[in-house]
Symmetry: C2
Subunit: 511 residues, 2 copies
């Protein structure tokens, strides 16, 4: 066996264990009977421990070094070279984080998630505060271990957005604020679109599912390698490209949640299903730091796909012109007095709100900025846990003009901090920005895409994305992948062109 | 950490991996999209390899030895003593089987199952024969490795029925033949019970499920620690006692399949759910040879529970007197001209048939004897693969008076041989015999059980079984557990008392 093959076989087994971890999680969230929790925790912990040991073992370094020698001189862009390089990068980060910190973090996550659930239910920030305090301290410890030159946040971003920094994010946010504020102001000047038919009529769950899976299929989701299940918190998860599942919940009193939720998860699934078969069970389909089977190169790039299929495609006028009749055929009574244009306007309302997950395309980014600014402040010590609710509420007033009446609808709304996901919030906004940049490039590079979309055909868009993004897995880091696919580094221009075009039509500038 | 704790922690992790293997299998059979097969195979193989290495590693032996020293002098029946002893026994067997044979067997299983599926579909024994030849050779190799004094079959029985031998089985079969033949002859002399309402009317699947799960719940299956899923081949599987799942399929044209199938799987599930919480994640809840998370002490003892709840309870007259009105409430049209007695007789027909899984309580054992006699013959060389179809058909004619018209309905009907399960068929018949022995003992020892059953209450029976059998896991081998719970070694007497009583009422001796 060659050195590369030995390396690749070893990583293949780690990938298998990551797929197993994903399955244990999927099952716990969609299938497991309620009293299975504790023993499932043991199972996850045992498999994660074995995978962690296999990856951080010094033998892995020897295999990486031997493989590096073997692939030296091979084409810079080849999957072999990239797989070894990527494994090396993750190995270097992983070995800088003390094992004791990882153990402590895993234990804290389990407890603090439980405490957070109770705290949110009871609107009791004080009970969660000490756990958040510990979590921030642990995150600082990890940042110190990994190392950074400018801001501790940079060291956490490595895990979710390799190449991104606090400084770059701050600059991006400044641009976003400047560009989004006028759109939001304009939207506020308009009366809300009619939407009684969305909030006052019942949409049976089975028909919601039927319509949304029809659309998923049209987008290109391969049901021979996927399925749709029921869950409380929707997500996408994969066990190699051969088995990529999505989940959703159905609110019969508010159908858009499940419809757009399924478009969103379909976008994630298309990324995973689009991976090149050649990278199956390789480093390029594995997050070796988080021990998570995933081919998407970063959280932001993944989110860009879900946002593209949910928003740029799924919330477009041309989409509803094409597919509203199908929706109407599933809900003839509910939509008998509604037309495509009214439906399009109803699902594109813009209105500042308190809850991130219920926000619209324009205000969503403000929810993210607030969180990221707070994370940075917690990490560099400029914000204390004690003053957190106050800071949160002040920022909501400043950016969105709304103030949470309690912490349940404020600082306690997200699971992320209790789960230790510091550094991941920015991915949602990066996803928005990247989705528009990719979409614009796709339409420019392949002139068949736009006419196809006009006819409700998605294969040309999917082909471009697969060819330029999906198939590569982790072969290229976000910045490199963006330049390769769009010819440009990260830029907000396409995003603003997209938003301005859409919202000038919905809310033409007055006077 | 004490030596025992170190041993127990190590085995706990192996149990976690066995639970993971069970989940990977459950998911593959009930959830996985069709194209997930190949990568799922890798995942199973990786986890099984790790679990195998963890158990057969010499360090495990050191831990067992250290734990043996520590528990020396503790009560003979204590779970600690038993866990160490059981692990030692399995370790001794496992280390006698060369790793190369295990690998070869696992690879052969995968291929030969696929070949068997095709062969059965095409009624083509010849295409399967070479794989069966290899399989028998491998099984002989395993038998030689494990060692035996009398018959190679004894070495294979260790895995499924520790303590059982070819010699004991032959004696048992002789007794069974002598006792069953007159019952079968008597049944043949009677006209078949009316059963048009079972074969000529449609029973919607959702109502079949509703009735069967009502009964499962009455039997005592805890749905907070279990659930019922859909599958092609029904089974029960667990991931600790906290999560014990059963599956079934529904034939709307023949409801008894799903109804009794679910009673059967519920019996298996009650065994697993009834394990003492103290043995969770210990050796006593783990088949360390097969790397399978299971608390039942042998295949036969497990089958005894499924048979007891399916047949002794679920096919009894008193059961249908109690619950036929409930069944009728789910199927008012289908059962409008049927009464409890007619239903009871219809689901207790006795008739020789070609297919094991469709056979009745009396003829079932003949199907098993045929298979076990053939397995013994294949192993000791007295039967060749070439003459197998002929031998099969001759035995069917001899024992049951029927001859398969083709191999699809004959020698190709079971998955077991392609899966390498040589030595496991006898468990079905042992299950029948043991179920009656346990049932009789329970009713004798606790006089509240029978009146409760007469009222459709199952808690007293379940309590007796849990106390005497279920809670112990692998602490006692089958023979010992039988003596402890019934005061007697394995005996066919209670089984014949049960059958004769039941079938003398159904088919009174004539003349």
């Amino acid at each position: 066996m060659s050195a590369y093959d030995e390396f690749n076989t070893h990583i293949g087994k780690i990938n298998d264990l990551c797929c197993v971890l994903n399955l244990l999680t999927w099952d716990a969230r969609t299938q497991m009977p309620e009293e299975g929790t504790v023993t499932r925790g043991h199972q996850i912990s045992t498999v994660a421990g074995i995978a962690q040991e296999m990856f951080t073992n010094p033998k892995t370094l020897q295999m990486i070094e031997a493989a590096e020698k073997e692939v030296k001189g091979e084409p810079e862009d080849s999957y072999r070279v990239r797989a070894v390089r990527y494994a090396r990068e993750h190995y270097e980060v992983a070995r800088k984080i003390p094992v004791s910190l990882v153990t402590e973090l895993n234990e804290l996550k389990m407890i603090s998630q439980t405490v957070w659930i109770e705290a949110r239910k009871n609107d009791d920030f004080q009970s969660f505060a000490p756990y958040l305090e510990k979590m921030v301290k642990l995150q600082r410890g990890i940042a110190e271990g990994v190392g950074y030159s400018d801001h501790p946040y940079d060291a956490l971003l490595v895990r979710y957005e390799p190449g991104m920094t606090a400084k770059r994010l701050k600059a991006l946010f400044a641009e976003l604020k400047a560009g989004l504020t006028p759109i939001l102001e304009r939207a506020k000047a308009y009366p809300e679109a009619r939407h009684d038919f969305l909030t006052e009529r019942l949409y049976p769950a089975d028909r919601q599912k039927a319509f949304a899976t029809d659309i998923s299929r049209k987008f290109g989701y391969d049901f021979k390698r996927g399925k749709v299940d029921l869950t409380v918190h929707p997500f996408e998860i994969s066990f190699t490209r051969q088995d990529v599942r999505i989940t959703t919940r159905y609110d019969e009193k508010y159908a858009p949640q499940a419809l757009f939720g399924l478009f969103h998860e379909t976008g994630h699934a298309l990324y995973e299903q689009g991976a090149n078969p050649a990278i199956t069970r390789t480093a390029l389909a594995t997050d070796l730091l988080d021990l998570y089977a995933v081919a998407g190169t970063s959280y932001g790039f993944h989110e860009a796909q879900s946002r593209m299929w949910e928003n740029l495609v799924g919330r477009s006028q041309v989409f509803w012109n094409n597919h509203f009749p199908l929706l109407q055929s599933y809900f003839p009574d509910q939509l008998k007095d509604v037309d495509a244009e009214q439906f399009y306007r109803a699902v594109n309302r813009v209105k500042p709100s308190l809850i991130r997950t219920e926000s619209d395309e324009v205000t969503y980014n403000f929810h993210i900025m607030i969180r990221v600014e707070i994370e940075m402040g917690l990490l560099d010590g400029s914000i204390s846990i004690k003053e957190l609710p106050e800071v949160w509420n002040a920022k909501y007033q400043e950016y969105l003009g709304v103030t949470p009446p309690n912490n349940r609808l404020g600082v306690l709304q997200d699971i992320h901090w209790s789960s230790g996901l510091f550094g991941s919030f920015c991915s949602y906004t990066l996803g928005n920005v990247v989705s528009a940049q990719l979409y614009e490039a796709a339409l420019k590079q392949n002139l068949e895409i736009e006419p196809a979309l006009a006819k409700g055909e998605y294969q040309p868009l999917l082909d471009w994305l697969t060819e330029n993004v999906y198939r590569h897995g982790h072969a290229f880091l976000p910045d490199e992948l963006l330049r390769r696919s769009t010819g440009s580094s990260l830029t907000v221009e396409p995003y603003f062109r997209y938003l301005n075009h859409k919202y000038e039509q919905l809310f033409p500038p007055k006077g």
